[in-house]
């Protein structure tokens, strides 16, 4: 129900069309800056989707840092259970693809606790060793290859390797699974779709990941090993275990959340370190002392997940706007991470920035990125290798993915110098 008395007019600054998402992040930031200043909770035309017709009259765009944190920390008002993507996705697909990302308490807490239980200290230590070795191997290969596509040769390899190695997935199945994970977030891109309809790309990708995950879970029930999938099938809290379907959906989530996010952060951080060589020098002067602080700036700068959505469970008010139960609120993390009221000189890439309360892993609350430590471990390992062993590495212009969810880079040339 729309509150009486309020006229809904769409914001004059629109962030909905796909053409907006085909511009660069810097160009989009100009619109976000205007919205932060003049229309921080704006009523927008439903974001252009390609799967099914919008069922909503509009969406509320939340662009200020403070409001993103508020929405994130009040899940009883801003629910995830009806999906977290800003375009209309069929319910069946949501249920199969979003795992606990698309749930509220108590289901969310139960599933997240079971999954967290699989990350035992022993498993985490093993994963850290794996990541260091993988980063070293990737840079060995880069040095042997020479000038190449950085995405293909470096940033794409590490997250896929990390995720599927820790899961224990058969190496022969990893490429297919990673390609499907790409399809899950890039159905709107013409190159990825290659003539297929967006819904077909999404469905094929989803079914591939689900069947891989469920078959793998069945396999590990019968043939346990020392890996995360074994821990997942064995995880038990208060007599409850995960079903193969739940593990299948989690496998989808892990494949998507673990692949693209870190990949694009590695790519665009490398670009930033090339664009701002004085920051690269500053980091290298004391790598061990500065890398942890720098990583926070890497993820703020890149903001690999640009948006997440919530559905309002009860009539509420935000910055004087009356929001009705059932309406959609979309958080624009890219905007929150450039909010001038929180970050001094927000357009400056500063590897020593402190404090750095970015919202790149989410604005807090129950859905804060479960994989944030894993991502940081990967970023530390790969930049340790890259900056020390390929000191003259330079990159060219990235080719961006068109989409309103992850900030993706399809390719980016690099020269070893």
């Amino acid at each position: 129900m729309v509150a009486t008395g309020e006229q809904r007019t769409y914001s004059s600054v629109s962030v909905s069309p796909l053409s907006f998402w085909a511009t660069t992040a810097e160009e989009r930031e100009e619109s976000f800056r205007l919205l932060r200043e003049h229309d921080p909770v704006s009523w927008q035309v439903p974001l252009e989707g390609s799967l099914m017709p919008p069922q909503q009259q509009g969406i509320w765009a939340v662009v200020r840092h403070e409001d993103i944190v508020y929405v994130s920390k009040n899940p009883e008002i801003f629910s995830s259970a009806q999906g977290v993507q800003q375009e209309e996705v069929p319910g069946d697909i949501l249920a199969a693809a979003e795992s606990f990302l698309g749930m509220d308490a108590p289901e969310h807490s139960r599933l997240r606790r079971l999954v967290s239980a699989a990350f035992t200290p022993k498993q985490v230590a093993k994963i850290e060793d794996q990541i260091k070795n993988q980063a070293e191997q990737i840079v060995d290969d880069l040095l042997a290859t020479g000038d190449c596509d950085f995405v293909e040769q470096v940033s794409k390899r590490l997250p896929m390797w990390t995720i599927y190695e820790m899961m224990g997935l058969d190496p022969a199945k990893r490429e297919t699974a990673a390609a499907a994970a790409d399809g899950m977030v890039s159905w709107a891109d013409e190159d990825v779709a290659a003539g297929r309809e967006p819904g077909q790309v999404l469905n094929e990708s989803l079914v591939t990941l689900l069947s891989t995950g469920m078959e793998f879970a069945e396999h590990r029930r019968k043939n346990p090993a020392n890996d995360l999938m074994t821990n997942l099938v064995q995880a038990e809290i208060d007599g409850e275990k995960l079903t193969d379907e739940e593990i299948g959906a989690f496998f989808v989530l892990l494949s998507v959340a673990g692949n693209d996010t870190t990949r694009n952060t590695i790519t665009l951080t490398m670009k930033a370190l090339c664009d701002f060589p004085e920051q690269r020098d500053l980091l290298l002067e004391d790598f061990e002392g500065r890398i942890d602080t720098a990583i926070e700036e890497f993820v703020r700068w890149v903001t690999p997940v640009m948006t997440f959505r919530r559905t309002v469970t009860q009539d509420t008010e935000l910055r004087g706007r009356q929001i009705s139960a059932g309406e959609w609120v979309v958080m624009f993390y890219s905007s929150g991470n450039r909010d001038e009221s929180v970050f001094a000189d927000p357009h400056r890439f500063d590897v020593t920035r402190r404090p750095n309360p970015h919202v790149a892993f989410g604005g807090g609350g129950p859905h804060f990125c479960l994989g944030n430590m894993l991502a940081k471990t990967q970023l530390r390992a790969i930049f340790d290798q890259l900056l020390h062993r390929a000191p003259k590495l330079e990159v060219g212009e990235p080719s961006y993915l068109v989409g309103n969810f992850v900030r993706g880079v399809k390719s980016m040339p690099c020269r070893l110098g």
Partner: protein, 136 residues
């Protein structure tokens, strides 16, 4: 429980669409999709083709309609599917449902899903077919 023969499949699964076509809201929306979907069931064997644009349901093999997508499954799965108890991506991943043709076109039906499910359960309840109602 499942259906006894193709006629019963046509009566109930076909009936969902025949009833929905008459509905003020669902009728035009289904027509607007312009979809032609074929359902090929086993146990019992049954073929239904639904031409949404022309509000027609055909029983049995037809050469004169060209479906945009064909869905294969057991009749028992179809019964559960139309009550909203089958998740399509999971069912495809498990091999319980196979889709040939344009899967994306089926997504056009997604927003109507819950309404079509109520049409179906309403029919079953009206006919006293508790044997076909599934627990969700």
């Amino acid at each position: 429980m499942s259906f006894k023969d193709e006629d019963e499949v046509a009566r109930y699964i076909g009936g969902i669409f025949q009833e929905a076509f008459k509905d003020e809201e669902l009728g035009p929306t289904l027509a607007d999709t312009g979809l032609v979907v074929s359902f090929r069931y086993t146990e019992p064997d049954a073929v239904l083709t639904v031409d949404m644009g022309n509000h027609q349901v055909y029983q049995g093999e037809r050469d004169d309609v060209d479906p945009s997508a064909t869905m294969y499954m057991k009749a028992e799965t179809a019964n559960a599917y139309w009550q909203g108890a089958v998740n399509l991506p999971f069912a495809i991943a498990r091999g319980k449902v196979t889709v040939e043709g344009n899967v994306a076109s089926l997504l056009k039906l997604a927003p109507l899903g819950s309404k079509l499910f109520s049409v179906y359960t309403g029919m079953l309840e009206r006919d006293g077919r508790q044997d076909l109602l599934v627990d969700k």
